[in-house]
């Protein structure tokens, strides 16, 4: 049974998405539990996959029994399974959280909303599970199309945000398609493992360089790496809160996963580090993104927009860790995928809970919120401390590894960038702490978020602390993968 899990995770999602309208015809209220049920199944399968991959090595599933490189292969290794668990976990939690939040923010749209929700989840899981580079493009587009429509469900400004995202997303997808085309024309194969075996003999050719450039630029737009981020702030600000939470925790991370896959599996690390300085270019771009994201976040007064800009700098951290390409930094970068998902989804869910109860988005109007919603704001504080990087949260663990990796590589500038950005992060979260907890608050009644929204928020805050204290568990898993990719160092 378990050998069919890689394809089941996709099949269940596609089945779930196409049956949502039928479930919705029976009763509209059933759509949200249905989405939770489907994503829960996907979460259980991905946890099994992670367990199986750690215990018994990589898995390969041949679609329709066709042997790769002719057939499509679903290849699962530790990195895939790790990303699968993050994506499925976030999508499941947000679907529980979203029942009340989405019912208030976009009433009466359950049917299209949850169909798209399951489709987006499946698209992202598909990107993570596939071992075929054209299949990756198809799943990327399935996920993106669902994301454009989900963002457009939000308030009236979301339409233009979604349109701009669509234009940017299509440019990015077309670049990826063209890059894949160049690789295919040169090698005649689309299977990632086969590509990595055939490409080394062609490394001297400029075509491979062009293909690499197209793929990296295309995926950078999808991950919203700094100069190509322009779609992200508007989209996250105007989408429904639950959708912003879901997208911030998963979609950009899946883009980073694809970037890692292309640079380290399809094209070998030696080529991107030594022959062409892709890595050092990316690391400087990421460092610029870290600072720019933090500075722009300080200038914002809308809480969701501030969190969106802070995503920008956190994406920079992940890419910086990966592009320094030594074991410590890379472990830190991949761990930061997990920690950013946990803390940013938690923070967006708190922002959504505040909007649900009070409708306030301006952070200077949040006075007394610490008395009104004590548990929710406690979760916010934990998430924010993790963003700053204070122990014992998981944000500390990943930033520690990043800084350690930068020291190991002798990149003093990046150490300074990481420390400076932590300081700036403290600045923009401190404004919220100050408004929420300090000053005179008379006559404020306690009014927590409803339980179905409070539980996921608290669960994420708990996980931030839990993984912060037992950071060795995810680090052990990641190191196992990193050692396989960068075997040269110790």
């Amino acid at each position: 049974m378990i050998e069919h899990f890689p394809v089941l995770i996709i099949a269940i999602g596609l089945f779930g998405a196409s049956f949502t309208p039928i479930v919705g015809l029976i009763r509209k209220e059933l759509c949200s539990p249905w989405a939770s049920f489907i994503t829960l199944l996907q979460l259980i399968i991905s946890i099994f996959l992670l367990y199986r991959v750690i215990a018994a090595g990589n898995m390969s599933y041949w679609l329709g029994g066709w042997e790769p490189p002719w057939g499509i292969e679903y290849a699962v290794d530790i990195l895939n399974a790790f990303v699968l668990v993050i994506v499925a976990g976030v999508c499941f939690s947000v679907s529980i959280y979203g029942r009340k939040s989405l019912a208030l923010e976009v009433p009466g749209k359950e049917l299209p909303l949850y169909t798209l929700y399951i489709l987006l989840t499946t698209g992202m899981l598909g990107i993570a599970v596939t071992g075929d580079i054209f299949n990756l493009y198809v799943f990327l587009e399935i996920g993106s199309l669902a994301a454009y429509a989900l963002i457009a469900i939000g308030d009236r400004h979301s339409l233009m945000a979604s349109f701009n995202y669509m234009i940017m997303g299509t440019i990015s997808a077309s670049f990826i398609l063209l890059g894949i085309g160049y690789l295919y024309v040169m090698t005649g194969t689309l299977n990632m493992a086969d590509l990595s075996a055939l490409l080394p003999s062609l490394y001297g050719r400029p075509v491979i360089l062009v293909a690499l450039a197209l793929l990296v630029v295309g995926l950078s737009i999808k991950t919203a790496l700094f100069p190509l981020h322009t779609w992200l702030p508007d989209a996250y600000t105007h989408a429904p809160s639950a959708i912003s939470a879901m997208l911030s925790g998963t979609f950009t991370k899946v883009g980073i996963y694809a970037l890692i896959r292309v640079m380290f599996t399809v094209i070998s690390p030696a080529y991107v580090i030594e022959t062409v300085p892709v890595m050092s270019i990316l690391s400087w771009v990421a460092a610029a993104g870290i600072i720019a994201g933090s500075v722009l976040a300080i200038a914002q007064y809308d809480i969701k927009r501030m969190l969106a800009y802070s995503s920008l700098s956190q994406i920079g951290y992940i890419v910086l860790g990966i592009s320094m390409a030594n074991k410590l930094a890379m472990t830190g970068g991949i761990l930061h995928i997990l920690s950013h998902s946990l803390m940013k989804v938690g923070l967006f869910m708190v922002a959504g809970a505040i909007i649900y109860r009070t409708g306030i988005r301006n952070i200077y109007q949040l006075r007394g919120m610490g008395k009104k919603m004590p548990l929710t704001m406690a979760a916010f504080v934990i998430g924010a401390l993790s963003m700053i990087g204070i122990p014992p949260t998981i944000g500390f663990a990943s930033k520690f590894y990043l800084a350690w990796g930068a020291l190991y590589a002798g990149e003093w500038v990046f150490v300074a960038v990481i420390l400076l950005s932590s300081l700036l992060t403290a600045v923009y979260f401190w404004r919220i702490f100050e408004n929420v907890y300090f000053g005179v608050h008379e006559g404020i009644k306690k009014e927590e978020a409803p339980l179905s929204m409070l539980l996921p928020v608290l669960a994420f805050a708990f996980l931030v602390l839990l993984f912060g204290m037992f950071a060795s568990i995810p680090i052990g898993i990641i190191e196992q993968w990193v050692t396989g990719v960068l075997p040269g160092e110790d």
């Binding site: 339409l159 077309s174 085309g181 024309v185």
Partner: protein
């Protein structure tokens, strides 16, 4: 010499030209429908690249016959069928967004919409 390259690789030159036109349409035009037209040209130029790269001179359609024959490579055609479906869906999403934007703001000019949404 230069002419030889142009004549030998004219399919690539056509696709690059179309791609640049589409890219300009997406970035330079202010009308949303014109942007979508540019987007379609941009996507289809890449499809032309795939299909022209699949061609084998003197090849026939890849249908298995009894006598030996030269076939064109069918795989890029199949890939592009998938990509065409994606492009059509993207265009559908884009056009429906344009309709909703027009109903909401009463215009399709990007600058006017930005002014109205301030």
């Amino acid at each position: 010499m230069v002419l030889d390259i142009i004549f030998a690789k004219y399919n690539y030159i056509i696709y690059i030209t179309l791609m640049t036109i589409g890219f300009y349409g997406m970035i330079g035009k202010r009308n949303l429908i014109k942007k979508l037209i540019g987007m379609s040209i941009f996507q289809y130029s890449i499809f032309l690249f795939y299909v022209s790269a699949a061609d084998v001179s003197g090849g026939t359609a890849p249908i298995l016959l009894n006598e030996p024959a030269v076939y064109v490579n069918p795989l890029p055609h199949v890939l592009i069928l998938t990509a065409i479906v994606v492009a059509v869906s993207t265009l559908a999403v884009g056009l429906s967004l344009a309709i909703r934007i027009y109903r909401e703001f009463g215009t399709l000019d990007e600058d006017k919409i930005l002014e109205l949404s301030r």
